[in-house]
């Protein structure tokens, strides 16, 4: 399990006096408004694929890079089963994989890349790499410098899954993938990930991942607006797809063939969560949603 406690991070005035101030009520130093992430507290549990959503610049990539140890938290702590990611201990690194939104074209064939680097991850499975490359219809014998961005991304996704990491962090993994590849990605994610893994996927393309991410985390400026499972969301919010107008709807949008309306689930009815509508609802009613889900 990954435990995040009072996490704070700022770019620029790193650790400077202007990035913290004394909160007289709390009686200790707290981060100022300049922080990208401020007082973030949450647990990421095993066996779940978390979807990390948020507008541009709210700190999704920052959070991912903090979780995998590429950045040092300036306030608070991150613990991956008792280990600090920023220590970059090989034992933890070999259990995690961070797939950046931009991937480097290495000057070698995909299969050679997998052979060359795969051995550092204890759970790496070369057959699985070849298999996932097959799912993506990618040629393992192709040189990575000759691949398109989408092919390169699929190679790295295949490699990430073949590493069998316990902690998998993916930043915009479906960016640059064509339509069939997005379906192949969903298939690969459900078939080739460990059951006890903690997976965190940051994305703007919520439709690409609608059926695989659960729970949903929605980040806002310095804050977590929502961190809930689909079950919890559908317990508290009702997603109506009929053409009938709901008077007290929190959010309503016309879609081909009708409407999508989100309202409070006062009757305990079941409904299918539409993540895009959820995102917009949360953003339009920040305090209300925080109040409902933090009860």
């Amino acid at each position: 399990m990954i435990t995040i406690k009072d996490l704070g991070f700022t770019y620029g005035e790193t650790g400077g006096l202007r990035s913290i101030s004394l909160n007289k009520e709390k009686g200790h130093m707290v981060p100022t408004e300049k922080f990208v992430l401020k007082n973030i507290t949450m647990n990421l549990e095993e066996g779940r694929i978390y979807g990390l959503l948020g507008e541009n610049g709210v700190g999704k990539t920052t959070l991912l890079t903090l979780l995998c140890g590429l950045k040092k938290p300036q306030m608070g702590t991150i613990s991956a089963d008792g280990r600090n990611p920023y220590d970059r201990e090989p034992s933890l690194l070999s259990e995690q994989y961070y797939l950046s939104d931009e991937v480097p074209p290495m000057n070698m064939k995909a299969v050679d890349y997998a052979k060359n680097y795969g051995k550092f991850w204890e759970g790496f499975d070369m057959d699985k790499f070849i298999e996932v490359m097959g799912v993506f219809e990618n040629d393992p014998q192709q040189k990575m410098t000759h691949m398109s961005f989408g092919q390169l991304k699929k190679t790295y996704i295949s490699f990430a899954l073949a590493c069998n990491p316990k902690y998998l962090f993916m930043d915009e993994p479906t960016n640059g993938l064509d339509i069939p590849s997005k379906a192949q990605f969903r298939k690969a994610m459900t078939k080739y990930t460990r059951e006890d893994s903690v997976i965190l996927i940051s994305t703007h393309q919520v439709r690409d991942l609608e059926n695989i991410i659960d729970p949903i985390i929605i980040l806002d400026r310095q804050d977590v607006l929502l961190n809930a499972t689909l079950e919890e969301i559908s317990e508290k919010l009702y997603f109506d797809y009929s053409s009938e107008k709901i008077e007290d709807a929190l959010y309503s949008e016309m879609i081909p063939g009708g409407n999508i309306q989100v309202s409070l689930n006062q009757n305990g009815e079941d409904s299918k969560v539409n993540i895009e509508a959820l995102f917009n609802t949360v953003h339009q009613h920040k305090e209300l949603i925080k109040g409902i889900f933090n009860k």
């Binding site: 590429l70 201990e89 070999s94 290495m106 060359n116 051995k119 550092f120």
Partner: protein, 290 residues
Amino acid sequence: MFNFRRFGKYFATDVRTCWANFGLSLLTISLLFPTVLYIVTTAFNLILRSSWDGPDMGIRVFVFAVAMFCLVVTMPVKCYGRITEKQYGSFWLTLPASRLEKFVSMFIMTCIIVPITGTVLYLGADAIICALDHTCGRNLVAGGMELLRHMSDLQEFTMNLGEESLTVENATVAQELVRQINSPWLYVDDFFGITLPFLLGAIFFKNGKTVKTFLAIFAFSMATSIIMSPFMAEWASEIVTNANNDPQAVISMFSHGLFKHLALIDTITDTIVNLALLAGIWFRIKTLKH
């Protein structure tokens, strides 16, 4: 912190990655430089002097030094410069090996493996060219051996002291001086002093890595020269004055380990600078973030 088995795996990967990124440059510099030098020199001699003559020892030693310098300057940027880029750097930092293993591998590759490989390839190419065309004379290895033999049989010694120069025409003293500067570490230290700044520059600067490293070296050299030159000038002038007044006293000074002490001072200062550079490289790896 350091696991030999994992280090072995990491080092092998580092060699392969470095070969993929720098292999062609290594071959080009090491093999093409002596070949092009031979072709160009022979062609010029044929056109201008109408004679078939290969490059002489002097020009070959000069081009060898230039080639090795090019190798040392370009290698760190090609092999490790990308760790400052978000794309590759994120992957490199999260690769499951310890910081110390990555640091040691980087040092061995930059300061030992690549320079030795480059030197062996260059000298091999030079030896083949000289074997095929005797107009080149002795190859660089044979020339070097000859120089060493000559040094052990030295009859006189000239020392440059700033604008002044001092010649000691005494075989025993000259050979004693050679013996006093005959420490391999003196030269290894100097060599690391050339390679390490470029490695640090490659992983420290985000762009313009080589140019900025040259500028940093220039600034550092200027600063040390400004501080040290008054002392050096005074010391050199004292020796030259003493030599004019009492040549025997200076010879005695040389015979009693002056060069040995100078070599020791040089080694100590180089070692301090190299340790500072290594510390810089280590802290850069430790604090690198993306």
